[in-house]
Symmetry: C2
Subunit: 544 residues, 2 copies
C-alpha cells in the first residue's frame, strides 16, 4: 500500500504519522511545497516578538525525524501540481524536475495561504505575511535593521498577535481593519474591550477602513488608507485572513461544499475514491448549527489529519465536527469564544437570548482575583447552551473550555447550574462563573427574571415610560452611572419603593446584576414591571 500526503504542516503531519501507526507496512511519502514541515505556525508571532527565543523551538518535527521514527519519506521544496484520480498518480515538481508518483490512498492537506489583498505596492521590501518560517525569518532580519513604525493590516488572530509582538519590539504599531470591528468572530462589544487594551499598550486600531496602497520606493515607508489618510510604516504586515488552497483538490475532481471548502464525510473521505482531505481546505459540520462551516484552526487540522491518516491506512476513525472554539491573548487580556455568538445565532434564525455573566477568576477574598465577563447564547424554551464568549485577565481559557465541553455534550443551562466544578479559593468561587451563568440563564428560561442587554439602553432611554434604575450605593453612583438613570440603593428599596411610579417600566442595574436581581424580584412582587440589565455596570462599561 502506498499512501501519499500532500502538505506537511498540522493536518498533513498528523495524517502521515497516524497512517504509519495504523499500518507499519505501507509506504508513506509526504510532499511539502515549502522548506519546513510540522512547524509551529501559531508560534510565529511570538518568535517575531522574541517571546520564543530559540528558532529551533518552532520546528517540531524535522524530515530526518519523520524518517527515523516513522519511516516516512518527506520531500520538502516539492510541489504537487496535478492529480490523476483515475490513473491514481500525482505530478510532483521540484528542483530536479517533474515526475509522477502512484498512490493507493492520497491525503490532501494543502492548507491555506494568506488572502491576497488588492493593495498597490504589496511587493515592496518590508511587506510581509506571518505564515511561514521564512516569513518570520524575513521579519526578524528586517527588525534588526531598526524599524520604527509598523502597520498591521487585519485585526484577527495573526494580526493582533503580530501587533502585540511588534510593539514588544518597540515599534509604533497601528492595526488597520476593514471590518467595523476587530476579532470578527466575537460580538462587537468584545472588540471595544480589546481595542481599549491595545490602546493601553500603545497600539492604535483603525476599524472600518481598508489599505489601498503601500508607499515608498523599493522599500515600504507608509500606507494609504481608503479614506485618504496616510500612516508611516517601515514594516507592513498583511494578516487579513487565510484562503484554503483547494485548487489541487478541485483538479482531482473533489466536490466543493456549500462553503466552497472541500466536501468530506466524517471519515475525511472526499467525493473522489481513495482521496482524503484534512485541515484548512475542508469544510466541517458545526456541532450547534448542523451547518457546514470553514474554520481554519490548528486544533481541528490536527484532529482531522489524524482521522484521515488512520482511515487511509485501513483504520476507522471519525471527525465529529467543530464549535469554532478560539482564544486570543492581547496584552494582559484573554478573549475566547465557542459555539454561536449573538450575531451567528441571529443570522441562523435561532430562538435565543444572550446574557452576560460577570464573575471573578477565583474567590474575591483570595489575592489576585480578576474580573471577567462571560456572554452566553442560550436557546429559549429548551435552555440549550448554544454558545459562549468570555473576556478577562485570568481563567478565561478554563471557562471557555468548560463551556465548549458542555456545548459538545448538548447540555442545557439547567445542567450548567448543577455542574460539580473544582472549588478552592485560589482557583474559583464556590459558585464558579460558569455555574453562576447557568443559574442566571436558568432563571431567565424558567421565567423568573426578565433581562435586557446594556446595548438596548440608549433605545430604552428614548421611551418616556421607561425608568433606568440604579440600585447601587451613592458612592458607586457618584463614581459613574448611566445617563438619565435614577438612584435607589437596593438596601433602601423595601422602605422606599413607594417612591417609584408603578405605571412605569423599570430597567434595573447594579454592579454585576446580583443586587438588581434581588431588587427586580422585590419590585415584581409589588406589581412593578421590571427588567434586569444583564451584566450590570461591568457589561455597560465593558470594564474587565
Amino acid at each position: 500500500m502506498r499512501i501519499l500526503v500532500i502538505g506537511g504542516v498540522a493536518a498533513g503531519g498528523s495524517a502521515a504519522t497516524k497512517a504509519r501507526r495504523t499500518n507499519e507496512d505501507a509506504e508513506i511519502v509526504l510532499f511539502e511545497r515549502g522548506s519546513y514541515v510540522s512547524f509551529a505556525n501559531c508560534g510565529l508571532p511570538y518568535y517575531i516578538g522574541g517571546v520564543i527565543e530559540d528558532r529551533d523551538e518552532l520546528l517540531l518535527v524535522t524530515p530526518e525525524l519523520f524518517k527515523s521514527r516513522f519511516n516516512i519519506d518527506v520531500r520538502i521544496n516539492t510541489e504537487v501540481t496535478d492529480i490523476d484520480p483515475v490513473g491514481k498518480t500525482i505530478t510532483v515538481k521540484n528542483a530536479r524536475g517533474e515526475s509522477r508518483e502512484p498512490y493507493d490512498k492520497l491525503i490532501i492537506a494543502t492548507g491555506g495561504r494568506p488572502l491576497e489583498l488588492p493593495i498597490k505596492g504589496r511587493e515592496k521590501d518590508g511587506v510581509y505575511n506571518v505564515f511561514t518560517v521564512p516569513d518570520a525569518d524575513r521579519i526578524v532580519s528586517r527588525l534588526e535593521l531598526g524599524m520604527k513604525t509598523a502597520v498591521v493590516v487585519g485585526g484577527g488572530f495573526i494580526g493582533l498577535e503580530s501587533a502585540e509582538n511588534l510593539r514588544a519590539r518597540g515599534l509604533s504599531v497601528t492595526v488597520v481593519e476593514k471590518a467595523p470591528q476587530i476579532m470578527s468572530n466575537m460580538d462587537e462589544e468584545f472588540s471595544h474591550i480589546l481595542i481599549r487594551e491595545l490602546d493601553g499598550m500603545g497600539i492604535s486600531v483603525i476599524t472600518g477602513t481598508g489599505v489601498t496602497e503601500i508607499t515608498g520606493g523599493d522599500k515600504a515607508d507608509g500606507v494609504v488608507l481608503d479614506d485618504g489618510r496616510t500612516l508611516p510604516a517601515d514594516l507592513v504586515i498583511l494578516a487579513a485572513g487565510v484562503r484554503g488552497s483547494t485548487e489541487l483538490a478541485e483538479k482531482a475532481g473533489c466536490r466543493l461544499g456549500e462553503t466552497r471548502g472541500v466536501w468530506v464525510d466524517a471519515n475525511m473521505c472526499t467525493s473522489v475514491p481513495d482521496i482524503y482531505a484534512a485541515g484548512d481546505i475542508v469544510e466541517s459540520v458545526h456541532l450547534v448549527s448542523g451547518k457546514k462551516v470553514r474554520i481554519p484552526l490548528a486544533g481541528s487540522a490536527n484532529k482531522q489529519g489524524r482521522v484521515a491518516g488512520a482511515n487511509a491506512a485501513g483504520g476507522n476513525l471519525q471527525f465529529k465536527g467543530v464549535l469554532g472554539t478560539a482564544i486570543l491573548k492581547v496584552g494582559g487580556l484573554t478573549a475566547a469564544r465557542t459555539g454561536l455568538n449573538d450575531r451567528e445565532a441571529r443570522q441562523l434564525g435561532r430562538d435565543y437570548e444572550c446574557l452576560y455573566v460577570p464573575g471573578f477568576s477565583n474567590a474575591t477574598y483570595y489575592p489576585d482575583a480578576a474580573p471577567m465577563l462571560l456572554k452566553l447564547t442560550v436557546e429559549k424554551q429548551t435552555g440549550l447552551l448554544l454558545g459562549a464568549q468570555a473576556i478577562g485577565r485570568k481563567g478565561i481559557d478554563k471557562r471557555i473550555d468548560v463551556l465548549a465541553t458542555a456545548i459538545y455534550g448538548h447540555m442545557t443551562v439547567f445542567d450548567l447550574e448543577n455542574l460539580d466544578l473544582a472549588y478552592a479559593p485560589p482557583y474559583a468561587s464556590a459558585k464558579d462563573p460558569v455555574i453562576m451563568g447557568g443559574m442566571i440563564a436558568a432563571n431567565s428560561i424558567r421565567g423568573e427574571m426578565d433581562y435586557c442587554l446594556p446595548q438596548q439602553l440608549p433605545e430604552i432611554a428614548k421611551n418616556p415610560n421607561a425608568v433606568i434604575l440604579d440600585v447601587r450605593t451613592r458612592e458607586e453612583w457618584d463614581a459613574g452611572h448611566v445617563d438619565g438613570a435614577v438612584l435607589l440603593p437596593v438596601d433602601e428599596l423595601r422602605d422606599r419603593y413607594t417612591e417609584l411610579d408603578a405605571g412605569k417600566d423599570y430597567y434595573v442595574y447594579c454592579g454585576v446584576g446580583y443586587r438588581a436581581y434581588n431588587a427586580c424580584l422585590f419590585l415584581k412582587s409589588k406589581g412593578y414591571r421590571v427588567r434586569n440589565v444583564s451584566g450590570g455596570m461591568r457589561a455597560i462599561s465593558l470594564n474587565v
Copy 2:
C-alpha cells in the same frame, strides 16, 4: 408563610436568600449557633498565613446585610436544640433564654463539626481546629506570641492548607496523618508527589501514624505519636476531617440514609414533611456510581442550599448530584480529582482501566509551559469516562473542570478525543492534554494499544519472560532509567528490532508514552508481544 433556617454558613445562607427571592412575602428567620454567618470558611487557612490580610474579607454577608437587602432576620449565637415536626416548632436557646418558634417550612443546614479525635490533652492552649472565624482569630493571636513549631493532625484539605500557611509564617511544621497517604480522596501516587512538594517547602509528613497525646502543661509543647515518637509543637492543628451534625435532624425524625447522612430527595426534602436539609449533613447521589455518598464541600452546599430555599418557599428546583470534584493547592503544585479514582472504581467492582496522560499546560515552545500528569479512569468496552485526577503546576484546574463537565455529560473517551477546546500557544497545545487523554484511552478501548501501569513494573520485573524496554535516547537513559530495563532507542528500532527476542513479553516506556506508543505499534506489527507503560518516565518517576 414562615420559613426557618437552621445554620448560617454556606448552605443555610444560600437557602435563606434564595427563599427570599422566591417568596417576598414569607417571614424568614435564620438561626446560627456561632457569632458569624456566611463567612468564608475555605479562606481561613489563608487568613492564618497572611495571604488574606484583611479579616473583614472573610465575612461575606453580615446579619445587617441579611436584614437590609433580604429582609431576613438573622439570630446569631442562637442554638436550635429541638424540633417538633408535629407541632411544627423548634426550640431555640440563646443568652436570653429558651423559646419556641413556629414554622411552616424548616431548612436544616447545621453543617459539620471537626472530628474529635481521642487525643489526650487536646483541651490545652495551643490546640486548635481551623473551622470558624474565632478558631482563626485564636490561631492568629497565638502566632503573634512567636510560635516556632507546629504539628498538623490530618493530611486532607484543611490540614495541608493549614500546614502551608503556618510554614509561610515561618514555623517548622509536621503533618501527621493516620492513613497510609495524604489526600486520601486521590490515588496513592498523588500523595507521594504532594509529600515531595511539602518536603521541598520544609514541611515534614508522617503517614500511617496517629497522635495519641498532646504534651505540656496548660500550654501544648509537643505531641506523642502512636509509635512512641514525640514531636515538639507550640501549636497543634486538629484537622482530621469533619463530621456532619445530623443530631438535630435525627431528633426531628429525619431518616438517615445508608451513609448515615440525612436522606433527601432531589428537591432537598427530608423524610419529614415540610423539613428540608442541605449542606454537610445530607447524603447526595454520586453521578457516576449512582450510590449515595457524603462529600462535604462548599460548592455542593451552596447549590443544595439554593435548591432547598427555593423549594421551601414554593419554587421548584432540583439538585442533581455530585462527582466529588475537589482541588488543592500545595506550594506551587495543584492536585485535583473528579468522579471515580482507581481505588473507588475497584471498590465498586467496575470493569475499568486507569491510564496516565502526561501533558503540558500549554505549547512547549511558548514560555512557562509546565508539565502535568493526568490519570483517567475509563470504563472498558464502552469507553465511558468514570473519573480523572490531575497534578501539576499550571492549568490543572482547567483540565479537571473540563473532565468534570465531560463526566457530568456522560461522555466517553471517543468524545474527549473530539472536543473542540480553545488553542493558542499561551493556553494549550493543539492537542490539549484532555484531548490527548481521549486519544490514548480511545486507542486502548479500541484495542489498538495495550497498557500496563508503572506500579506493576516491580511485579513484572520478577517474570523471567518479561523485558522492560526503554526506547528513549542514550542521554535520557544515562540520566536515569528503570532498574533492569534494556535500552533500544525508538529511532533505531526499525534497524535493530531483530536484536529482540520475539519469545519475550515487552513492556515499553519512554518519556511520556508517545515514543513507546510508536515503538509498540512497530513491534506489534512484527509479531512481538508488547505493552506500553502508561505515562512513561513521568508517571514512573512521578516528576511533574
